[in-house]
């Protein structure tokens, strides 16, 4: 423990709010979001980049918050699960997850929501296989995935054609 702890400064925007903080160099973005910013919606499932539970969107790209250091996110714009709903109003992806029973314990859910949001931002009309491939880096132990896939396809449909029922 001889090495001095290096403290660096970060400025970043999370869910539209600007934050300016001193942070230890070794601190992960996930721990920074959870412990320093108290945004505990981002969950840590494995801390080695394999389960996807901590997926957040950094400058438009899905990222594993456990594999990024907070200091690497300096100057970034980040979206987390807390930023999806408008107040108490679920967004279409969240709404579809609820309707299709795409969550059980809900621990992996923030990661799936962020990954699905990233997919739908780049592909508004994905096929089932495209959804499966895009979400294949996220692990869920409860649902068996079928209802997650249904939810994402249903949300895509709803977002393309608002007002229609699926």
């Amino acid at each position: 423990m001889g090495a001095p702890k290096q403290i660096l400064h970060v400025d970043l925007v999370v869910n539209g709010t600007a934050y300016s903080r001193d942070v230890e160099a070794r601190r992960t973005l996930a721990d920074f979001l959870r412990d320093d910013l108290n945004l505990t919606g981002t969950h840590l499932g494995c801390e080695h980049g394999a389960c996807g539970a901590c997926t957040v969107i950094v400058d438009g790209q899905p990222n594993r918050a456990c594999l990024v250091l907070a200091v690497q996110a300096d100057g970034s714009e980040i979206q987390t699960v807390e930023g999806l709903a408008a107040g108490e109003q679920l967004n279409p992806v969240q709404e579809a997850f609820k309707k299709h029973h795409a969550l059980q314990c809900g621990f992996c859910t923030p990661g799936f929501l962020m990954a699905a949001s990233a997919l739908l931002q780049t592909n508004s009309d994905p096929t089932e296989l495209e959804v499966r491939e895009y979400l294949s880096g996220n692990i869920c132990r409860c649902t068996g995935y079928q209802f997650i896939i249904d939810a994402v396809l249903s949300a895509a449909h709803k977002m393309r054609e608002p007002g229609t029922s699926d």
Partner: protein
């Protein structure tokens, strides 16, 4: 308006979807300290621990070793005593001079945050004097083997024997006998949330408050109280949102005592969050068993008897008695008529992580061996897989069906209800079985290899002895339901609200379900063995009946009528023949509470609208299931493509089919993992080789087929709602059904799957060793 049976979307979801869950790692208390645990790097060794450098660090608050623990908290108590395993070796809370598996806790380092705690853990020096590890369970049982516990000869923790009928006579009269050696390798629960504990000694209330991720908070309350020498009511166990359970969170771990002990010692809140690396090496595993069994049949293919033995890998200590091998033993006959049955099991200690139930709990092994034997018999006797099962399934008229031996709960094992032949026919229809068989017979030899597999299973569910439910009607006429069985994602706040809402004819959102706090009800057993839906659900029904009687009494007095002239309608008790006249639940609450200082208007009823109900089943219920899979096997790459998967379940009456669909699908995902991926591997030194999610693989979106689910309900006569449990049925038959389908697709002489899980490489090897294709017409 009936909500029972409706695909009601869940009350739980909004908060979880918005990132507002309350998981264990989200808890932050003022002055909270963090623990990192130093774990054994050796499987079997004498150890010496030097903590001086760690204690000398400015960043370390405390280092706790075995010697620092109070005498009452040095060894885990036997939380689940069972006469079948009379003298279990329980794990030390911290290893004291000797370690018995890689990952065993040695000491705890306490610091201001987890980073500093881990820095401190790095300063702890452990000297290992290693000894040969005992890993192979067959070798462990030989006289030449070293011993995991020096006072347990042959490493045999216990033997189980189960028998009914006259098996030897049945085998003597057999027309055909099949025998096989069938093995299953251990996997793990791997909930996406690891384990974690926050403990706070509340000096002002003189109470130990513990948040954890338990499926059995009342078991933990008792164990913690004993370790801390407190009364049970001075210990409170709380569970917020828990990120998946899958059985192995239903056990008591050394950390469940360790963290409260440290909180009491330091009088500061203590948090320990297991990281995935710890979880992969040190959270309890399940499934390793070796089975050598044989089945005797008559000339038509009717089962005459099954006999044999199996070995169960128990790991280093006994966290939950012999429950896993017991469940295998009693479940081997499954839904089939097996008039003569003898099975013996040796439970064996090894230098590996202790074994405890993981979703399925001994039953996937039982289903696997029974179905593999049936498949072998079908092939050797040239009987179609479906026909062989039709011949042997217990006919619906034979229920209740007594098996002739004792169940897990000590009662004579009796299937309360069921109709597995109907499940089989429905599942066969869902995959167009007859048509597919015809296509298969006509398929060209060089085309894709398609095969069909069938497996049927039984699951003992709804285990006793009881659950208690508190119910109150609030001032606004809403209903609060309190219970002791916490949720790990099963949707209890939804399903139990549906049951309660129906009782009072109120909307779903007028019921609030509260669980996860040992102070809500006095007694509870826990959420495991597919029991909460059945036992707690029935207790909700029971409490509602008591509350209805009470409300009717009040209403009859207020309306000056008889209770049988009244009914519940839309949040009120109304006259059945004039529903415009009545009193609302809100008015009844007001009357029952009166006004401070004045006598109660209806003194004879006593105050308030609060009752406690309970349900104690006579014995457990039995859910049944039939899964049928159609697979395509590419003989070049050994890739298995599941092209059709049907799951037909009998869970009795369903409170919420949306939730049970989820249970089935999630169960199948674990079963697919158990078939192809999920294996914990140890080398001969007891080092764990699957210490990351890159080595321990689970099913992903790319591995899960679309599943056709259907239900056939034979309501259980053992509870008022006719329910059976739904928690494990999805998992149990999967390795059996997929193994059968792959064997059926490959159809080569000598090719037969006898081990799960198996990889594409394993299939390739088996193919290389197999003979020529079987002749057409052979099954």
């Amino acid at each position: 308006m009936s909500l029972f049976g409706k695909r009601q979307v869940r009350a739980e979801d909004d908060a979880l979807l918005m990132g507002r869950g309350r998981f264990i790692d989200d808890i932050r208390l003022p002055g909270m300290l963090h623990v990192a645990i130093v774990r054994s790097a050796a499987a079997r060794a004498k150890i010496r621990v030097n903590v001086e450098a760690a204690r000398a660090s400015d960043d370390v608050v405390a280092v706790i070793t075995a010697g620092d623990l109070p005498a009452s908290a040095r060894v885990l108590p036997d939380c689940h005593p069972n006469p079948a395993l009379p003298d279990p070796r329980e794990p030390p809370v911290l290893a004291d001079g000797e370690v018995r598996y890689v990952g065993e806790p040695i000491c705890a380092v306490v610091a201001r945050d987890r980073y500093l705690a881990e820095d401190g853990a790095d300063l702890v020096e452990v000297e290992y004097e290693t000894m040969p590890a005992i890993i192979d369970i067959e070798a462990a049982l030989t006289a030449a083997s070293p011993l995991v516990h020096t006072d347990v000869p042959l490493n045999r923790a216990a033997q189980i024997k189960l028998a009914t009928g006259n098996t030897d006579q049945a085998f003597g009269a057999a027309h055909h006998i099949v025998r096989d050696r069938l093995t299953i390798q251990r996997g793990a629960g791997q909930a996406m949330e690891t384990r974690g504990i926050v403990a706070n000694w509340d000096r002002y209330q003189q109470k130990m408050v513990v948040w954890n991720v338990s499926q059995v908070p009342y078991v933990h309350r008792a164990a913690i109280a004993k370790a801390l020498k407190l009364d049970e009511i001075s210990v409170q166990v709380l569970n917020g949102d828990v990120g998946g359970g899958f059985g192995y969170k239903g056990l008591t771990y050394t950390e469940d005592l360790l963290i409260p002990v440290i909180a009491q010692m330091l009088e500061q809140p203590i948090k320990w969050i297991e990281d995935r690396a710890e979880h992969l090496i040190a959270s309890y595993h399940e499934r390793t068993q070796i089975h050598e069994l044989e089945m005797a049949l008559d000339a038509n293919g009717r089962i005459l008897g099954v006999r044999g033995r199996f070995l169960h890998d128990n790991g280093a200590y006994v966290p939950w008695g012999p429950v896993v091998p017991l469940l295998t033993a009693v479940n081997i006959p499954g839904p089939y008529k097996v008039p003569n049955f003898t099975v013996e099991c040796d439970i064996v200690y090894t230098n590996t992580v202790p074994v405890a139930p993981v979703r399925g709990a001994g039953r996937p092994q039982a289903c696997y061996v029974m179905e593999r034997l049936l498949d072998a018999a079908g092939r050797e006797m040239n009987i179609d897989a479906a026909d062989l099962r039709r011949l042997n399934l217990i006919p619906p008229d034979d229920y209740p069906y007594e098996l002739g031996f004792i169940s897990r709960d000590g009662t004579r094992r009796t299937y309360d209800s069921g109709n597995v032949p109907a499940l089989l026919e429905r599942a066969l229809d869902l995959v167009d079985y007859t048509e597919r068989r015809q296509l298969q017979a006509k398929a060209p030899a060089d085309g894709p290899m398609v095969g069909i597999g069938i497996a049927c299973c039984v699951e003992d569910t709804g285990l006793g002895p009881y659950e208690e439910v508190g119910m109150s009607i609030e001032a606004d006429g809403s209903v609060t339901v309190r219970m002791g069985t916490p949720s790990q994602g099963q949707g209890q706040r939804t399903a139990f609200a549906q049951i309660a809402a129906d009782a009072f004819d109120i909307p779903f959102d007028k019921v609030r379900v509260v669980a996860g706090n040992t102070e809500e009800v006095r007694y509870s057993i826990g959420t495991f063995a597919s029991r909460a839906g059945v036992v707690t659900g029935s207790a909700v029904h029971q409490a509602a009946q008591q509350m209805k009687d009470r409300a009717l009494g009040f209403a009859a007095a207020l309306l000056q009528t008889k209770t049988d002239a009244l009914m519940f309608r839309d949040g009120a008790v109304v006259l059945a023949d004039d529903t415009s006249r009545g009193v609302t639940l809100s008015e009844i609450v007001e009357t029952s509470l009166g006004e401070s200082g004045a006598p109660l208007a209806l003194r004879e009823f006593g105050p308030g609208m609060s009752v406690t109900g309970s349900f104690s089943p006579a014995t457990n219920t039995f859910a049944t299931g039939c899964h049928v899979a159609v697979v395509e096997v590419d003989l070049q790459t050994c890739k298995v493509n599941i092209i059709k998967y049907a799951a037909v379940e009998d869970f009795g009456n369903l409170a919420n089919p949306l939730i049970t669909d989820g249970q089935v699908l999630g169960g199948i995902a674990l079963g697919i993992g158990n078939t192809f991926f999920e294996k914990v591997e140890y080398d001969e030194d007891g080092q764990i080789l699957t210490g990351t999610f890159m080595d321990y693989l689970m099913a992903t979106t790319m591995d899960m087929p679309r599943v056709d689910i259907d239900y056939v309900a034979t309501p259980s006569p053992l509870n008022p709602l006719g329910m059976k449990g739904a928690g494990q049925g999805g998992t149990i038959p999967v390795p059996a059904v997929l193994s059968a389908a792959i064997d059926d697709a490959v159809r080569r002489e000598g090719f037969r799957l006898r081990h799960a899980p198996f990889s594409e490489s394993d299939l390739f090897q088996l193919l290389a060793e197999s003979g020529p294709p079987l002749t057409k017409g052979a099954k």
